[in-house]
């Protein structure tokens, strides 16, 4: 019996103490007609057999494609110490720190994570993380609805379309009015966004860099929204945040992000890390776990989960959210990553990625019939208009071992000819040269 330590003799001693004659007697309260009619599962396998099976499955996935695929989820290098430290059993096999005296390591790490996120975003407070960047954006929207008691939300179409679909799903039974402002050639329509934000608006939701890779300064939009007492919500790319104008500097009330770029593997979509930071005034609307610093009886510094009166185990149906867990181990990866990189290392990684993308854009624009979708500045990702459908191009290049980017037509009808191309510090100028050759051949 794997992982069950009891010998038959011990089992008998336990049954005797309980006062029942068999294991079956312990389940007497489950009526006979509720017993399983089937439990048709495979017989157990040895550890190495399971591993061999999974190795076979892993090999069926092609991870050797040279990638320029980003679209919100990026293949950055991860220092080895991140895996090493977060794999420690004391962190990985712990539960939510309900007994703070027995969980100081985790609580201090969360506190340091909150600090690092606030400094990266130039915001005042952060929570201990939520599931992913999409749920973070949804929770931010609900914070604004609760805070303003208004029901109109203005969303920029340049926000990640996957996240916008999540917002649609979560709000389908709530009486919220979602107004989506169309993009203009891959850029935010700032005048239209501004015009849509009025005294009925709970929040305006934007993204930087936007889904097309374009950079924006939302300071004026945010100033206008604040004058209408609407909240400003911005979703950002946290690694790139080390060189880009911050949410705080733009006047955001809530900043959210997908934290995957901070030391988390792509892992076919998860687990990822939902980052949330806000201004001081909004902390009681913040969902999820929050670690705070305090002292013990002898005056020593220690950490606890705080503001728990917002949470479901106390407030039940009146809680600020139903989120019970956070992504503690993923947040741990992020803080370890940020410490290893340091401020300059982080900025260099971001700059290096952006420099490669600019080089790629210069090279690829030499191909006849190509142009940039947006004239806005960009960082490490850009939308390239091709003379033919992007899907067909991708299809041809993947057969040569190259994944040239994301076909924007998948989420934006009318943009079938547009390819979204991302670089990280893991790409090389040589790869970009080959990409240009292959792309040239496919057009």
């Amino acid at each position: 019996m794997p992982y069950i330590p009891h010998t038959p003799d011990e089992q008998q001693r336990m049954l005797d103490v309980v006062g029942v004659s068999s294991l079956e007697e312990l389940f007497a309260e489950i009526p006979a007609d509720l017993r399983p009619k089937s439990f048709d599962l495979p017989e157990g396998l040895g550890e190495y057999e399971v591993l061999r099976h999974l190795e076979t499955l892993a090999e069926k996935n092609n991870t050797r494609l040279v990638g320029f695929l980003g679209a919100g989820f990026y293949d950055h290098a991860i220092p080895a110490a991140v895996d090493f430290l977060t794999a420690r059993g004391e962190f990985a096999t712990a539960y939510t720190p309900y007994q703070p005296e027995a969980s100081q390591g985790l609580l201090q790490a969360i506190f340091e994570y909150q600090t690092a996120i606030c400094r990266l975003m130039d915001m005042e407070y952060a929570n201990a993380s939520v599931y992913d960047g999409g749920t973070a954006l949804y929770e931010a929207m609900m914070m604004a609805v609760r805070q303003t008691k208004r029901r109109k939300i203005v969303v920029d179409e340049c926000v990640n379309p996957i996240y916008r679909r999540m917002l649609d799903c979560y709000t389908s039974n709530l009486q919220l009015e979602m107004i989506v402002i169309s993009h203009k050639e891959g850029s935010s329509d700032l005048p239209a966004l501004s015009k849509a934000v009025d005294t009925d608006t709970a929040a305006v939701i934007v993204q930087n860099p936007n889904f097309f890779g374009a950079l924006e300064d939302f300071s004026e939009l945010f100033a206008h929204a604040s004058s209408q007492r609407a909240l400003n919500i911005i979703s950002v790319y946290p690694l790139m945040q080390s060189i880009l104008k911050t949410p705080g500097a733009m006047g955001a009330d809530i900043a959210t992000a997908e934290g995957q770029s901070l030391g988390l593997p792509l892992s076919f979509g998860g687990p990822y890390l939902g980052i949330m930071a806000c201004s001081k005034a909004l902390i009681r609307q913040m969902p999820g776990r929050i670690a705070g610093r305090t002292t013990d009886g002898e005056g020593r510094t220690g950490y606890v989960l705080t503001l728990q009166a917002r949470e479901q185990h106390i407030r039940r149906h009146k809680a600020t959210s139903n989120i019970c867990s956070n992504q503690a181990l993923c947040a741990m990866r992020a803080i370890v990553y940020l410490c290893l990189m340091g401020p300059q290392g982080l900025a260099n990684t971001a700059t290096h990625s952006a420099e490669l993308a600019h080089y790629a854009a210069r090279r690829l624009l030499k191909l006849p019939g190509t142009r940039m979708l947006s004239e806005r500045p960009f960082a490490n990702e850009f939308a390239l208009v091709l003379p033919k459908p992007a899907y067909a191009v991708i299809d041809r290049l993947t057969r040569r071992g190259y994944l040239p980017g994301f076909p924007l037509g998948r989420y934006y009808p009318g943009l079938e000819n547009v390819l979204l191309i991302a670089c990280t510090e893991k790409n090389t100028r040589e790869d970009i040269g080959i990409l240009k050759e292959l792309l040239g051949g496919a057009l």
Partner: protein, 485 residues
Amino acid sequence: MKTIFEQSVPGRPGVGLRELKKDLTGLIPQELARDGLPCLPQVSELDVVRHFTRLSRLNFGVDSHFYPLGSCTMKYNPKFIEQAASLPGFSRLHPLVPQFRGAGHFAQGALEVIYETERLLCEITGMAGFTVHPMAGSHGELTGAMIIAAYHKDKGRNRSKVIVPDSAHGTNPASAAIAGFDVISLESRDGIIDPQALEAVLSKDVAAVMMTCPNTLGLFEQHLPRIVELVRSVDALLYYDGANLNAILGKMRVGEAGFDVVHLNLHKTFGTPHGGGGPGSGPVGVCQRLVDYLPVSRVGKQEDGQFFLNYDHPKSIGYVAPFYGNFAVYLKAYAYILRLGRKGLIRVSENAVLAANYLRKRLENHLEIPFNRICMHEFVASAVRQAAKGVRAVDIAKALLDKGHHAPTVYFPLIVKEALMFEPTETESLDTLDQFVDDLIAILEQVEQDPAAVQSAPRKTPVSRLDEVKAARNLELTDQCRLED
């Protein structure tokens, strides 16, 4: 212990410091660029390794301590599954890869993991369809509640209420409310649902009843067949909170028992570590008439054995997650299920229930046990007797930390005064259980002789009792230590 920010030395290079070959100023226009570097620690790799290694030693985990935290199912997590989840063929796979036309063949192994995991969970629970997308147990509840809403809406009904018994997990009412329902709380009687009380609140306005079974008192809901009948009579749906599934593997399949929707906490029953609060994984299973409403994408299998992503589900509630849930977490659960197999899973629940009852019997003369009968995988005791002497449940919990055990869950469920909720799980040896009981009895004896000693616990942990009121009043949520750039 100093924070990593306090250890920062200006100019000390981190591992990520890669020299840039040329001056790249001007790459990003100044008005869109950050003003200065972020104020993050400047430390060496050894600084970081030592700091987080030291922090890890201030933390209790299952690998280091017995963790009988009720309703959390803190069992041992086999190590080989970590190897499985870190295989590069999985960890390096970009989630958008199979979403292009014809690109599904680049992710056949990963799609097979999703397909097979959902199929195995269907067999374990007796449900018709499953989704692995929800990223935690309560996320599964919300997904389930949204499926319920979509079903009634599709039938043209206006069902605004959800009934949640007071013995259900606290996330149940929160999830129902977040999904847009009004929540009716139902009082238990003798620790379980009273069918008459349920009947009194059931009506054609009720969309669903959310049940935790065994409930948070560790008790099986004996009136289940009658409850199913009542819920059916108003054509509402019955939801099963599967966080406590560890108690009934192979003993009851919730689909056959009459439940319409179930969520599972894979990080509890299926042996994946909880990570100090997450990531988890909360798949949702549904009966046949709800399959159409499951979130997209869904993995299908063609006749030639190829797997593909299917978005063609017009009644689907949509996207609850950006991709396919917490892939690396349910991959671990998949490995765990294959390792244990049919017999192994049945033995899990048998031995978990045995261990809980053993602990209950050994403690029954020392602590008040309000519903002292055969329990499932956990039971709730009460420290009311000790409270009369001024020693509360929380004091007993802290004294256990000093003895080298994690504490049970305290003050939950809310319906038992001075609650202490124990869940030993199937992976703890009899020696560990006995040592725990002996240590707990010693604490309870000390309550009689020297209550002040118990009230002042813990003393052997890195910090003693922390001031939680102060933490909430004087909010200090970030390190104010400033660093030089």
